[in-house]
């Protein structure tokens, strides 16, 4: 360190930055980036050699769609039979997605799934019943969604619930009303 550098450091160090400071800053920045990139590379490398996790694919009947039709205040029950074709036990816990009408209304259904989960041995099957209470104020329309099987490949079975307009006492029924 030369006397002139010492003088500079003793003076306004914060205000005047010489080439040594720039070099140190550059070097530190480089080291930080190098460490960060190395760490990122190592983490990605670790991710490449992860263990294989055997999975389960859901294979529905061709054209399968769970359908129900009801008026506001009723309950629609959807059923689906799940069959385990794998050689080991399989736990399934189906859940219903929100349903969306063609008008874009999203219905956050409060469904009851019975049984909530089923433990199926090889070759076993279970019929899952999904009861969907339709609130009285539900706008009529066709609502679509899915029964979801979390953790399964293609674990979504399409669902359609048609909510019909409520029959009211004032509804025209007689021939006079029809003529009118």
């Amino acid at each position: 360190m030369t006397p002139s550098h010492d003088a500079n450091n003793a003076g306004s160090h914060a205000a005047v930055r010489g080439p040594i400071d720039d070099l140190l800053r550059l070097q530190t920045d480089f080291q930080q980036r190098l460490a960060s990139e190395t760490l990122r590379y190592l983490r990605q490398l670790q991710g490449l050699v992860g263990p294989v996790v055997p999975g389960t694919l859901v294979l529905p009947d061709p054209g399968l769609e769970l359908q129900g039709r009801a008026q506001g205040g009723d309950t629609v029950t959807l059923q689906v039979t799940l069959e385990n074709r794998q050689r080991v036990h399989c736990l399934v816990s189906p859940m219903l997605s929100p349903l969306v009408s063609e008008r874009g209304v999203t219905w956050f259904v409060e469904a009851r799934v019975e049984p909530g989960s089923a433990l199926l041995a090889e070759g076993d099957q279970a019929t899952i019943a999904i009861a969907v209470p339709v609130p009285a104020a539900t706008p009529p329309g066709s609502y679509r969604g899915a029964v979801l099987l979390p953790g399964f490949e293609k674990g979504a079975l399409p669902v359609r619930v048609i909510v019909e307009p409520a029959m009211t006492e004032e509804a025209p029924a007689g021939p006079d009303a029809q003529a009118a």
Binding site: R40, R43, Q44, Q46, G47, V49, G50, P51, V52, V53, P54, G55, T56, L57, V58, L59, P60, D61, L64, L66, Q79, V80, T81, L82, E83, R85, Q86, R87, V88, H89, C90, L91, V92, M95, L96, S97, P98, R103, G104, V105, T106, W107, F108, E110, A111, L119, L120, Q125, T127, P135, A137, T138, P139, P140, G145, L148, P150, G151, F152, L157
Partner: protein, 192 residues
Amino acid sequence: MNETAAPRARLVDPEGEADRTTAALVSSLATRLIILHYTSGVSVIGSLLAGLSLAGRDAARTADGARLRRALLASPAARNGETLWAALRIGDMAAGLPATPVVDHIRNDLALLLAPDLAETLSAVPIPPALQSRAAGAAPGEANFIDCLLGLWIHAREITRSIEGLARLAPAEPPVFEGGNAADGHTSQLLR
């Protein structure tokens, strides 16, 4: 009453992937355990965090999950949680790491507990190396299967109750219906 048979869906092995057999499940579990010896704790936790977050995003696609998510977001806990997450750089631990398929692991490990051919399968797959405690003078930790299984149960139960408790702190019940064309008057009535 509709007497027709319920539609059917089969649970099968995905084509081109490892079949779900006892041997494959033991091998997968053993590999997970062996890899732990060559991986940093941060990477393991980071991968689990990514996996739990992915499972959470999947759960939010269900009606129950979406309802819970909205309640949690509206609860006072969400702000503190996000603040802690950012300040302690918890999310950084998961950066660049693959998401652990946490739900698959539960399903596969459960299947192993019920596999009738487990004993003969175990003799044919690599087993993790034996471990020796390096603690000097400290009382050794004791872990066994049944205690751990029960511990997982109480752990999951406490987590479930905690999260549902947080959701109950939300100031208002989330709406049953949302969005849509309000021109017909029906939907606008339902939007709260």
